[in-house]
């Protein structure tokens, strides 16, 4: 079976500046994979290329064995690619459950419906509620999003992505802005995500990364420095030098 997501010799350069160099990357089905690297290592560029927001200079991207390099974000989403954002990217004037329902409605293909009231689409509402229950947000479903505390808004970020029922989920710093004392709440949620989803997490909170990920890829200066298990990565001298060393000492 082909991997959930794969890149082959993926390159991106802006003029003489290379921000992604020959990235070969494989995300297996059901993976719990982390992408780490110091600031400016090219993590964001890489994610943007995966989502279709940025066209690579060369190389290819495969989703479930099919090439999607030239496809739009919308086409990739249809194939099961979902993401969350580092900075809250939510629908602030809507309720919590509506935030999820917008994503569910797109997947059900009912979002063009102009005449029947939205409340009549029970399947959309029920499924949105299920997602909220899974994340422990059911009690807040009817609250306006803007009335939610920041930490819970971070969970809504994940809820919207789950509403898309992705096969591959890119989590862009899910714990960003959350005090490390509270990041265990995020970790609990991540641990409870359906096992069949392949998850790639980009995160600066090393504790969270090492507890969550089973494989880690280290990016440095636009290239893959190494890939391995958490134990291999934390004991690697090069990794310690470019990254961990600076933080752990």
């Amino acid at each position: 079976m082909s991997p959930a997501l794969e890149t082959r010799a993926l390159c991106k350069s802006f003029g003489a500046l290379t921000v992604a160099a020959q990235i070969d990357f494989t995300l297996e089905t059901g993976a719990r994979h982390a992408l780490i690297g110091p600031n400016g290592a090219g993590k964001t560029t890489f994610v943007n290329m995966l989502m279709g927001g940025l066209a690579p200079t060369s190389g290819s991207i495969m989703l479930g064995g099919d090439e999607v390099t030239r496809q739009s974000q919308r086409q990739r989403v249809k194939r099961g690619l979902g993401r969350t954002f580092q900075i809250n990217t939510l629908f602030r004037s809507l309720t919590v459950v509506d935030n999820v329902a917008l994503a569910v409605a797109e997947r059900h293909g009912v979002a063009w419906g102009m005449f029947r009231p939205a409340g009549g689409y029970r399947a959309v509402l029920d499924e949105s509620m299920q997602v909220l229950e899974m994340l422990g947000l059911a009690a807040d479903a009817k609250l306006p999003l803007a009335a939610m505390p920041y930490g819970k808004q971070r969970l809504v970020e994940i809820a919207i992505a789950l509403g898309m029922r992705p096969k591959v989920l890119l989590l862009d710093e899910p714990a960003a802005g959350i005090p490390s004392l509270e990041s265990h709440r995020i970790l609990e949620v991540l641990d409870a995500l359906p096992a069949e989803i392949a998850i790639l997490i980009i995160e600066h909170d090393m504790e969270l990364v090492f507890r969550f990920a089973r494989r880690i890829t280290v990016l440095a200066q636009g290239a893959v420095l190494m890939e391995g298990s958490p134990a291999e990565v934390s004991s690697d001298a090069r990794v310690r030098q470019v990254y961990l060393g600076e933080r752990r000492e």
Binding site: M51, Q73, R74, V77, K78, G82, R83, F85, T89, L90, F91, R92, S93, L94, T95, V97, D98, A101, L102, A103, A105, E106, R107, V110, A111, W112, G113, M114, F115, R116, P117, A118, G119, Y121, V124, L125, S128, K142, L143, P144, A147, I160, G163, M164
Partner: protein, 330 residues
């Protein structure tokens, strides 16, 4: 705690789409005015037309978040199509409405395809440019449009062959009221639908809508075309009730005035489009009688007060007062 959707008619999977008791109030008032103020019916018709026009703007500006200063292009286009049709084709009003609405919708679709690829200031400038182009075409194509003199001298046939347009504007008033009702019904249905919810989504966060796989551009073009068609119908109503069309219907002034009315009433709420034109046009009418030279000062002052103290317009202010009263109760 009540959801924001309850008060402002935001598209939501939780809102109750049934028409509430108070929502019949505008219609009861409108019919009461027909009997109570027969001398004001021409002004009344104009208010109804502007409400329909404001409703069409609210759909794209208030709900979908498309910033525009050029909505008069579609109103004016519909008006000219209706007038030219009456002069050169048929003077049947219902055919005129359908043709004008379809033509304005088509123009909305064609221009929307181009301009909705942009956002923000670029979009604003493009909407302005489209109005200016339409204005100049109407100005120069004098044989068809009458140029700066405008186009008149035609008489509309009775509606359905039964109801003649009378001198006092009685038929015209009810004619406008019927089309406003249909427009309101359509917009209201749309806002409570999944489509309406996705419009709010695009206004709130277009980046996220892309990320959940929403066809953002296509959806904006569709809502823009629908809005343009409604604006075109409003323009046709104006031509049918006044039996005249002039360049003012394509002017930047009209776009700006419409925006002021909507802001005054409350953007992003259906009834903001009702309250704004009503208050603005009645204030204009009475101020112009009291202070013929300074009435614009009064309008300006009203707008400054609304922008400074009532960000959600008159309806936003009402909401705040109501919720304060409720909290005041034990």
């Amino acid at each position: 705690m009540s959801t924001p959707s309850a008060a402002s008619h935001t598209g939501s999977y939780l809102s109750d789409p049934r028409v509430r008791f108070i929502e019949w109030l505008p219609w009861v008032l409108a019919i009461a005015c027909y009997f109570a103020a027969p001398t004001y019916l021409p002004l009344g018709s104009y208010i109804l037309i502007m409400i329909l026009f404001a409703l069409s703007l609210d759909l794209i500006l208030g709900y979908a978040g498309i910033i525009t200063l050029g909505h008069a292009a579609y109103f004016g286009f519909g008006a000219y199509v209706a007038a030219i049709l009456a002069v050169r084709g048929t003077a049947d009003p219902l055919i005129g409405i359908v043709v004008a609405g379809a033509a304005a919708g088509l123009l909305g679709w064609l221009t929307g395809l181009v301009i909705l690829r942009t956002r923000g200031l670029t979009l604003l400038m493009l909407t302005l440019a489209i109005t200016s182009i339409c204005y100049e075409i109407a100005n120069k194509a004098g044989t068809w449009t009458g140029g700066a003199d405008g186009l008149g001298g035609f008489a509309m046939k009775p509606i359905l062959g039964l109801f003649k347009f009378d001198l006092f504007g009685k038929t015209g008033y009810l004619y406008c009221l019927v089309f406003l009702f249909l427009g309101w019904w359509l917009v209201r249905r749309m806002i409570y639908s999944p489509f309406g919810a996705s419009l709010t989504g695009m206004r709130d966060n277009v980046l996220r809508m892309h990320a959940v796989g929403s066809p953002v551009y296509q959806r904006l073009v569709v809502v823009y075309s629908i809005s343009a068609a409604l604006a075109g119908i409003a323009g046709a109503l104006l031509v049918h009730t006044t039996e005249f069309v002039g360049l003012k219907v394509l002017s930047f002034d009209l776009s700006g005035e419409l925006l002021v009315m909507l802001i005054l009433g409350g953007v992003g709420r259906i009834y903001g489009a009702f309250v704004g034109p009503l208050v603005y046009l009645i204030a204009q009418d009475s101020l112009a009688k009291q202070f013929p030279e300074y009435w614009y000062f009064g309008i300006g002052l009203m707008l400054v007060l609304v922008v400074m103290f009532a960000r959600g317009g008159i309806l936003g202010l009402l909401d705040k007062l109501l919720s304060r009263m409720r909290r005041g109760k034990p």
